[in-house]
Amino acid sequence: MKRFFKIFGITLGSLIGLVLVIVGLALYVVLTPKRLTSVVHRVADSFITCPYEIGNVDLTIVKTFPYVGLEVQGLYVINPIEGAPSDTVLAVPKLVVGMDIMKALDGDIYIKTCTLEDMEANIYIDSLGNNNFTVWADMTTEDTELEEDTTDSAWRLRSIGLEDAIRFSARKLSLVDKKDSLVAGLTDCSIQLSATETDSLCHAKLDLDANHVSFQMKEEQFADNLHLRLTLPALFRSSEHITIDGTQIAIEEYTVNVDGYVGSSCFDSGVYNMDVTIKTNEWKISNIWHLVPPSYQSLWPKEVDADGHLQLLAHAIGTYDSVSMPLIDAQVLLTGAQGRYTPLPYYFDEMQADLTAHVDLNKKANMTATLNNLFVQTGTNTVRLSGSANHIFKNKDGFVIDNPAADIKAEINVDLAEANRYLNSDSTPMHVSGRAKGALTAAGRLDDITNSRWSKLKAQAQLNLTKVDFLSDSLQAAITGGQVNARLDMPKDETSAIPTIALRFDLDDVQASMDTLFAHVVHPIGSATIKATRRDPSAQRVNVAFSAEAMQANMGDLTDIKTGNVSIEAKSRYNKEGENIFFKWNPRLKFDLQNATAHTPMLPVEIAVPQIRFSYSNRDFAIDTSRIVLGKSDFNLSGDIRNFGKWTQHKDTLVGVLNFTSSNTDVDELLSLLPQSQEDTLVANEQTESDRQDEPDSSQAKPFIVPKMVNLTLNTRIANAHALDQDLKNLGGSLVMRNGEVYLDQMGFVCEAAKLQLSAIYKTPRTDHIYVGLDYHMVDVDIQQLISMIPQIDTLVPMLNSFRGKAQFHLAAETYVNERYQLKPSTIRGACSIEGKDLVLLDNETFSKIAKVLMFSKKTENKIDSLSAQITLYKDEITVYPFCVSMDNYLVALGGNHYLDMNFNYHADLLKPLYIGVDVKGNLDDLKIAPATCIYAQDFRPIIHKDTETKSQEIRRIISDNLKKNVKIK
């Protein structure tokens, strides 16, 4: 068997070798180089219209196997043209062409392979468009029909075509286009063009590898000595559809991959359909920088000094022709970037960006740019930004961003100390530290964002703050942490409407100090919202809320204010038609303060506020509670006031009832709390003196005018009070303000010295004509206590100072005063009644003088059984109606009058045991006491008509009865 194969192999090999030898001999005999050279010349003559040179042509099989080929030693096409760098258009030192020998023998040359070695081409186009490469006869189709050979040779060329592949090995390819100012050159390159056709599909492929590529256009060097690789596979599904999947262009190590197809009904028509995707590998910016032409380098902002990796992805789909452009979706990726933007004092340690753009050059509005992600890190600060913008279009100047609508999202994590670079100035040094982390979103027109026209934007921010400290000059503030949210929404449709602005904060702890001031707020929570009202989009609603667990404020070491829970809610609805500020803003307020205390050097006692809670609206001002403890005193005010808003419009009456209650009020302590330092007293005295000397100025003081359309009642109830060293109980009464009048209605209290009841009225019919009236009653009052409590009583009844004991005191008086509260004497009207029992007449100088005239015994006991005196006030005179006192064995009647200037005219009669009278006249400095006839005997010890009431007694009775009618205390 082995031998069989050996014999068979030798036999077969011999046969093949014999055939090859026969074929070779035949070829060399028939297709001699001379004959082939002649044929090639004839072919060249048909194609080349300019001078050329073709070297020896030889037959080859080995170099073109399995095809038979021609090896041309030198092909030179020479077409000198003025200005061209070379007169040689094409120089091919060696050209090998493989073809189907059988068809070639019939005159149809189908080039299967074509190899051009060390080719050099010099393409030149002058400024007029004349070129040196139009040297070829018409050979636009692969099946070029040649002129019929007129020589006597039996072989003639019928057609020539390219079937498979062309390989170029170029030493130099150059293009000089003066018309378009183009200069391009490829040296040391290889080009391979191949094509195969299967099942009506034509596969073509172009491979180009040039070690040195240069390209210059309009004196701009776009490429200089670059390594270029191009792989262009093309699948011709039809003449109208070319798929170029797998295409790759590489300049140096930077590649561009292209996939997709290009189609056209006619590639000369200028109308192309395409669906092409482009993708680059990652390009390091610093490495490709030298590839960017200088003029384009200048477009790069000088302020930007950055490096990183760029990657571009793009997809173009649609039709390109003179009126339309394909839609382009592009994506630019920046990774691993670092650098700085010189206006900003930061070095960005890391930057990442992902930018996509949808470009529609056909429709203006559909162009958008989307920043999917921009991440920047500088030091410990990070900012992550995303957003989109539309309204980008292209005009004759290129791409224009026509104030696009932008939608921006940002995540930040920044060290607030970075802001110090901007905050600090020579005049006001500021320092801030801390950390802010959160998200920001903004939507609106780019112009509005860049110009901070916040009212035009829709924006939202959410920040988490950590250990924020702020220091500026003497101001220092610290926030331990917290969250701040802010939102800005523009109305969707109503352009005139109010934007919605919302702010919410939730902070852990805030402290601030400035000079000697210090403030501390524990866990402040707040919100503020401004938005349009539902009824009127141009009107705004404002809602504000604030609460804190506790607050503290100090001013030096002396003033200290602390609070517990504080809660404030405020709502407002703006109405431009409102008549005044209350109706323009329609405020609604709720306030709640708990457990507050205050220490201040102005007050030696602590001010404590257990709770203040009230609510306010234009309709209703309701004080739920307002407790204040000041030293030994405590107060609580509650109540309700209604119609405040309409009252300001003069449309309705202000109506309200307030209740003032106190379990204990120490008036003495409260009065002692009033500032009465020596300096104050001096200032007050100087002021008084100044007022006297400068009457016109003081006359400008305006009195309190009771407002009209007011119906307010203040009910007071004080359980215990201490005033003038007296313990008072059950102080109660009402202060009523009604229709331009103020009433103090039956204010009463009980003390050790007396039971009191006071009513008063104040009304202001005119500024210079003010009414003041009072009704004052004291029962079981100690006369000396009465005088100490109301020193003015000594002016009304001077002799009262001579008595001691219990009495009743009733006073009703009224007068008008001018705008400076000066009395109008002609309007003074009043009556007073003093009644007492078991009084003691004090032994003073005046009494001694009178007693001496009346011849009182020195043993006389000063006790008086009863006293009943009636006094009237009429204009400037005070009249004491005659009254009688019984003392021991003596009966004395007193009466008379005096004036406000303290000129006296009194008379006293001793009616028992004998009749002696005495006149007391003059003033306190010059009091004249002289004996006189008795004039009161008929009143108090009538001899005749014993039971007849005298006129004087009648008047006294009228006075006394009328005064007592209003006494409610018992």
């Binding site: 009414y771 009224e814 002609s826 009429y874 009058n897």
Partner: protein
């Protein structure tokens, strides 16, 4: 007996004469008077009887209304009707009793004033009070 009758008639005549004189003197008061020594200080005595509203005020049913004002401090129009500046007056002999009213304090609080007339003619009115003499002249009937 005849002596008693004449005496009685004489007393009756004297009483009637005194009543006639007092009635004439009161009519002199009616009108507007101005203080001679203090121009602008006016008093007006009206022939308008007080009509008590409350029973306890019936004591004043024999009084008539009057009012007074000092132009230096207020005008007549600024008076509150039957309030401060108004008074009830009654003439008894030489005593002119005036009970001054008040605007408000405290309904029923009255200020009695007694003037002692020394001269009262149709155009002159002189009275004394607490030793001081006041002279008024009539400026309007």
């Amino acid at each position: 007996m005849k002596k008693y009758i004449f005496c009685l008639l004489g007393l009756m005549l004297a009483f009637m004469t005194s009543c006639q004189l007092e009635g004439n003197k009161e009519s002199y008061l009616y009108g507007k008077w101005e203080n001679v020594n203090k121009p602008g200080d006016y008093k007006v005595y009206e022939n308008s009887a007080v009509i008590p509203i409350h029973e306890e005020d019936s004591v004043f049913k024999t009084y008539k209304w009057g009012h007074e004002w000092d132009e230096a401090e207020r005008t007549e129009s600024q008076l509150v009707h039957q309030g401060n500046g108004w008074y009830m007056w009654k003439l008894q002999g030489n005593n002119l009793y005036e009970v001054s009213m008040t605007d408000r304090v405290w309904e029923g609080s009255l200020t009695p004033v007694t003037l002692t007339i020394s001269t009262l003619t149709s155009d002159m009115f002189i009275f004394e009070r607490h030793g001081r003499t006041y002279t008024f002249k009539k400026v309007m009937q």
